[in-house]
């Protein structure tokens, strides 16, 4: 009776005519990096940062399961990703639009299809839309601007807020962190820069939307958020790409500094096409009494390796990582969380929900680490997996490091299937097998969707429904 809905077609798989005004040659070299920096009119220090990072990248071995516990892939598994065949920088238009009309038509149509301008009018305080390597549209409510909130793309920040940016850039995720962080540091382009001044609370979310259009394109956005003391900000990002026969790479770096008693929530709904490698490094530092929340949804991509991290540096810091991962045919979601307590009385909660179907593979990979000064700290980890058929698999790989007594660590993991009894019950009330399965899945991920802004929750449910829409006739 428990037939499983099949993965339906990826709905954002369309692509547009290439309208770019500049694209770098394929491949990675010192020359390409210099060219990107020159195109962007960057200061000398940034060029140096890029070139040093490039050296790092060349020096570091390709990570895999034999040399890193954070790379689940087997040696050679990333071979289809040819670094010399990737276009590292594509500039889609001459300038950034501040009003929707200024955005080039072709690009505008794409974002129209994706519903971005509508969303902005309805419920966002600010929007940034990145197409290929550059942000093509950017806008923020005047109210926030008046309060001193900075929300711009990171390239603009290099020019307009050089001191503020330089103080924090690369401090949370250094280029040497891992090979893909080094790559991003060398060729990064776009991404969001946010500064929220002391005590300012942004009640409505700020949003960025990332879209890859070109084939063999790498998107390497770089996001930096600084939430100053006592402030609050909620940042939301969404991602899609067309389907091509060859693989694309998305390799972002996100750095967040949450100062004393500030709170930052970072929500991602990643729905990359099923041929995108999504290798992202996300890390936040939480100071005294600060609260960092990662809300991370992984639906698309071929392979995602992403473990949003929080380093709790100050006493009483809090970390929440809430994630869902859905892996269908040919997909592997290797996701999780890393929390590190370096000060007393920190609290971390990790909730991971994953669904695998049609041979998809989900892995929860997580780290909870308690340093010598972390006495009185607590961590609670809960991983639930729903497996929809016999071909699909799941794994739970928790790492724990404990260097002090007097801490509390709880770990709970469940693996379940959609039960025949549940299906029978719902169907006996008139729901079809598809509808019943969907309802059980929606219920399973409800702890995640209820944390999303309402409009996103609706979109998320629609996405999942779309993913699950089946072949049962």
């Amino acid at each position: 009776m428990a037939k499983v809905p099949e993965l339906s077609e990826y709905q954002y798989g369309f692509h547009d005519r290439d309208v770019s005004v500049y694209r770098s040659k394929r491949g990675l070299s010192r020359q390409i990096v210099e060219e990107i920096s020159r195109m962007k009119n960057e200061p000398e220090w940034m060029l140096e940062f890029r070139l040093k990072s490039l050296e790092q990248f060349f020096k570091m071995p390709m990570p895999d399961s034999t040399n890193s516990r954070w790379f689940s892939i087997l040696p050679g598994e990333l071979n289809s990703l040819d670094f010399d065949d990737i276009t590292y920088y594509v500039k889609p238009s001459e300038k950034q639009g501040r009003s929707w009309e200024e955005v080039p038509d072709e690009i505008k149509q794409t974002f129209d299809k994706l519903g971005i301008p509508e969303a902005e009018q309805k419920f966002l305080a600010g929007v940034s839309a990145q197409y290929e390597s550059e942000v093509v549209y950017h806008n923020m409510q005047k109210e926030l601007e008046d309060q001193g909130v900075i929300f711009c793309d990171t390239d603009t920040a290099v020019r307009e807020y050089p001191e503020l940016l330089r103080e924090y850039f690369g401090t949370v995720v250094p280029p040497s962190d891992n090979k893909f962080a080094a790559l991003n540091s060398a060729v990064w382009s776009g991404g969001s820069f946010i500064y929220v001044p002391k005590g300012v609370k942004c009640e409505v979310p700020l949003q960025a939307y990332f879209r890859i259009n070109s084939q063999n394109m790498g998107q390497f956005e770089r996001t930096l958020i600084i939430a100053d003391e006592g402030s609050f900000v909620h940042y939301v990002e969404g991602c899609t790409a067309p389907i091509y026969s060859t693989d694309s790479l998305h390799s972002a770096v996100v750095e967040i500094i949450v100062k004393d008693h500030a709170r930052c929530r970072y929500t991602t709904i990643q729905n990359w096409a099923p041929n995108v490698y999504n290798l992202v490094t996300k890390r936040a530092v939480a100071e005294k009494g600060a609260h960092m929340e990662w809300v991370d949804g992984n639906i698309g991509s071929k392979l995602t390796m992403k473990y949003p991290a929080v380093v709790m540096k100050g006493e009483g810091a809090k970390a929440d990582v809430l994630s869902i991962a859905v892996a269908g045919k040919g997909q592997h979601q290797d996701a999780g969380a890393k929390v590190t307590a370096l000060a007393p009385n920190c609290t971390a909660t990790i909730i991971s929900k994953s669904i695998s179907k049609q041979g998809g593979k989900v892995t929860y990979r997580g780290l909870t680490s308690f340093g010598r000064k972390a006495e009185g700290s607590k961590a609670n980890v809960k991983c639930d997996t729903l497996i929809l058929d016999n071909e699909s698999t799941s794994d739970t790989i928790p790492y724990n490091e404990i260097k002090t007594d007097n801490i509390t660590l709880e770990h709970e993991a469940t693996v379940s299937k959609v039960s025949e009894a549940q299906l029978f019950y719902l169907m006996s009330r008139g729901l079809s097998e598809d509808e019943a399965t969907q309802m059980i899945i929606m219920g399973f991920i409800e702890p995640f969707t209820k944390e999303l802004p309402m409009e996103y929750a609706v979109e998320m449910n629609r996405l999942i429904q779309f993913e699950m829409e089946g072949s049962i006739g």
Binding site: M1, Q422, Y425, L426, M427, S428, G430, M439, I440, G443
Partner: protein, 263 residues
């Protein structure tokens, strides 16, 4: 489809794995009638309920079931529900993350045509009214479906669903088990409220107790996987007073069950 529902069961046989459970059930239920099926444990009563609803564990080996002239056995579980069959289950499943209200609205809309969905306001009005009648706290609609419900709450929820979904034939499988007298009265109130020529009811129970509050028109004794004796309400009273032994004696039955294991 005439307005008065009619369920006809003819010589129904079913098995689970290799074991025959139902051994030729005959029963006819019309709109406006309440039928009580009584019998000791292990005689196949609950199996009858599950088979009628189409539970995949059971395999029908012979016989026929018709609802308003339509072949029920040909239908999927959800099609049976849409045709007007309802089963209040003995052990309803728990569905985490789905609120009672969302579930009920989806179920109501599943039975309606697209574009003719129940309006939210109308749904809430109806739900509030029925929850009041069943003395259910208003927080109930936002709780997850059966999750963490007490036995009594689950039973009330089954009756609430029956009232909201307006079936043509409702089967109540041991709706009285584990209920105290007050909860029993509330459940009975719900069933009596829905009593009309547009609804036929089958009540499956061990005890006559529930029948003090829901007066049946027909009482059937179930043994060895079939109806062995039928009568009016007086039959239930005699069973309550004298137990089942006299029936066995009268019919020459030694072992009333369908086998030793309770299914």
């Amino acid at each position: 489809m005439s307005n008065r529902p009619q369920l006809v069961i003819r010589d129904l046989k079913a098995k689970v794995e290799d074991k025959d459970i139902l051994k030729g059930v005959n029963l006819e239920v019309n709109g406006g009638e309440i039928h009580a099926i009584m019998g000791p444990n292990g005689t196949g009563k609950s199996t009858l309920a599950s088979v009628l609803m189409g539970h995949p564990t059971y395999e029908v080996t012979a016989g026929e079931v018709q609802l308003d002239g339509q072949d029920v056995l040909e239908m999927e579980v959800d099609e049976r529900a849409k045709a007007g069959l309802f089963l209040a289950m003995q052990y309803p499943s728990e569905i985490s993350g789905v609120t009672n209200a969302d579930f009920l609205r989806s179920a109501i809309n599943a039975k309606r045509e697209e574009g003719n969905e129940i309006s939210l306001m109308k749904f809430i009005r109806e739900l509030d009214k029925k929850m009041d009648l069943l003395e259910i706290d208003s927080s109930f609609s936002q709780r997850y479906l059966n999750e963490g419900f007490s036995g009594g709450e689950k039973k009330r929820n089954e009756i609430l669903q029956m009232m909201m979904l307006d079936p043509r034939i409702a089967i109540l499988d041991e709706i009285d088990s584990g209920l105290d007298i007050d909860a029993l009265k509330v459940v009975a109130k719900g069933v009596n409220e829905k009593r009309s020529p547009e609804l036929g009811v089958i009540i499956i129970t061990h005890y006559q107790r529930l029948l003090n509050y829901i007066k049946p028109d027909f009482v059937h004794v179930f043994m060895q996987g079939k109806v062995v004796k039928s009568g009016g309400p007086e039959l239930a009273e005699r069973l309550e007073a004298e137990g089942y032994d006299w029936v066995k004696e009268e019919l020459g039955i030694e072992d009333e069950t369908v086998g030793h294991a309770q299914v």
